[in-house]
Amino acid sequence: MLRANISLKALCLILFLLQAVSAQLGYQVEEATLTVYRDGVVAVALEVAMEGELASIRLPLLGTPEAILVLDEEGSPIDFTVEDGWLKIYLFGASNLKVYYQTQDLTSKRGTLWTLSFVSPWKTRILLPSDAYVTDVNVLPEGFTASEQNLLVEMPPGEVELSYVLEPTVVMPPSGGFPKLYLYVGAILSAAITLSAILWFRRRRKRTAPPAVNLEELLRGREHLRPDDRELLGFLVESGGQAFEAEIRSHFRLPKTTVWRMIKRLEREGLVEVSKVGGQNLVKIRAGETGVPEGS
């Protein structure tokens, strides 16, 4: 009887706690954005919607916050206090909130490698500098977009650990105190030489008759090639057997990496070769791979 009574009490307690926990929240974090700056500072921006008219809420903080600002739906400031990793916000009827703060606790650096780590109860949108290289991530991202401004990584709730490297600058060792004027003259000369080389090459390309390349022959026995790789070969054939990587990119309107992988696949097939001309990648159908029998 006593045992039954105890278990019943335990059951009641569990039910009560479940009820209490779900009732306590009373808010929904609709968007959590973490903007990661190059110096390791992370700006946190939360958009919170209330469920009902509440006096106050407690939001878990990601790191030790600095420069906190809480605004209501009209952009008016709302009072808050920081309590042991929580941000207590005195809503008194506000229905939507915008919370901003900065923290330096979420990033660490080892050598050139930065690591962003935190535990979030919500999905997070991480904005990394546009020149960041993501080198590792502990969970599968829910989304990834690269724009000119930044890289957007969408992460699920829970523990997040993301490693990245920032685009470095190339620093050449000093070359023995060359006078500045010579350096300038040298730079101008080399630019002029490169430019004339490109122009000369382009003219030569126009003047020389395109080598006879038979696409059908070229593709014979290579049925495994992907349709996009075939299209690239077709484009090369139309361009007289060769084209710059940049030309291919603008023709197909594809990202650089995608085009590069297409070229690499064809290179592995032994169909094309890549050489440097004036600092640009020139993709050429390999000699002997014209699809036309030699001597014809």
Partner: protein, 299 residues
């Protein structure tokens, strides 16, 4: 069997069924999610592939940049990059075939190869952090903060606030803005340490105006809580009339009215604290009143 024991068993059965139902209710969305799991995994695998692909692109560009500058990139770094590209290609094929788990595995392998390539490249000692870019971003971040604080000051002015504190905050922000502009100009000229100095000065000014603002926004907080207390009071009045006019048993009526008077007590206390400018105590009392009402199922 005693009557109380039967009652207890019925109760346990009832609770157990409630628990089962909540468990099943919890399972339902999970079941729905698992049935449509293929789509999220496809999305995740594609996101990871795109991320690895971007990293590959960057490593490729870095190798090109180094070679253009006449730096000999170690073959092992190039091999690691090539290996990564190979893994990416497999990841892409698997993604197209719908084999998302394997595609994820290959994307992670590609990332590991690119990491390897990068670490070998960084060991060359010809790469340095882009201090100018870091500083530029820090200046821009401060400019955003100034903008946000200016907006807030604008709201205060709209609401009819004026006075020395507001003017002081405004002039500090203007000064900070000037310093940031100077910092950016110095940075463009390549005078990094001077630019950093100006940024530091601007930061101090921003912190000062933030301090002014904290004092300035106090009336906003007072107004907010006063309005809230008014709303609570109106609700309680309405409820009090309802309870008094209702035909509920006497003891229940007395209990409800007692709870209401407790809430009224907290509201009065909150108002007293507001008069004494003790904002945090006023918050505590308003919260207590709110809790009292939510326990009665009003809020």
């Amino acid at each position: 069997m005693e009557a109380s024991e039967i009652h207890l068993k019925t109760l346990s059965l009832l609770l157990a069924s409630v628990l089962c139902l909540s468990f099943l209710a919890g399972m339902l969305p999970a079941a729905q999610a698992s049935s449509s799991e293929e789509t999220p995994l496809a999305k995740k695998a594609s996101a990871l592939f795109n991320m690895a692909s971007k990293t590959g692109d960057r490593v490729h560009r870095l190798i090109e940049k180094l070679e253009q500058k006449g730096v000999t990139v170690p073959q092992k770094a190039k091999d690691a990059y090539e290996e990564g590209e190979g893994f990416l290609e497999q990841a892409e094929t698997l993604l197209e075939e719908g084999n998302y788990q394997e595609s994820v595995r290959y994307s992670f392998k590609a990332l590991a190869s690119f990491r390897e390539a990068l670490s070998r490249i960084f060991k060359l000692g010809v790469l340095r952090e882009n201090t100018a870019a870091t500083l530029k971003e820090a200046i821009e971040r401060c400019e955003k903060t100034v903008e946000r604080l200016r907006e807030l000051l604008g709201r205060l002015e709209e609401a009819g606030y004026s006075g020395e504190q507001l003017e002081a905050a405004k002039s500090r922000l203007n000064e900070a803005s000037m310093k940031l502009k100077e910092a950016m100009e110095l940075l463009e000229k390549g005078e990094i340490s001077e630019a950093a100095k100006r940024l530091g000065e601007a930061r101090k000014l921003i912190a000062g105006s933030e301090g002014e603002l904290i004092k300035l926004v106090k009336p906003f907080h007072v107004k907010r809580i006063e309005k809230y207390l008014e709303r609570l009071e109106q609700r309680m009045e309405a409820l009090k009339h309802k309870v008094e006019a209702s035909k509920m048993p006497k003891h229940a009526k007395e209990k409800a009215l007692k709870a209401l008077s407790r809430a009224i007590y907290h509201i009065e206390k909150a108002r007293e604290h507001l008069k004494g400018e003790a904002l945090s105590q006023a918050y505590g009392e308003a919260e207590a009143a709110s809790l009292q009402l939510s326990q009665m199922g009003i809020l």
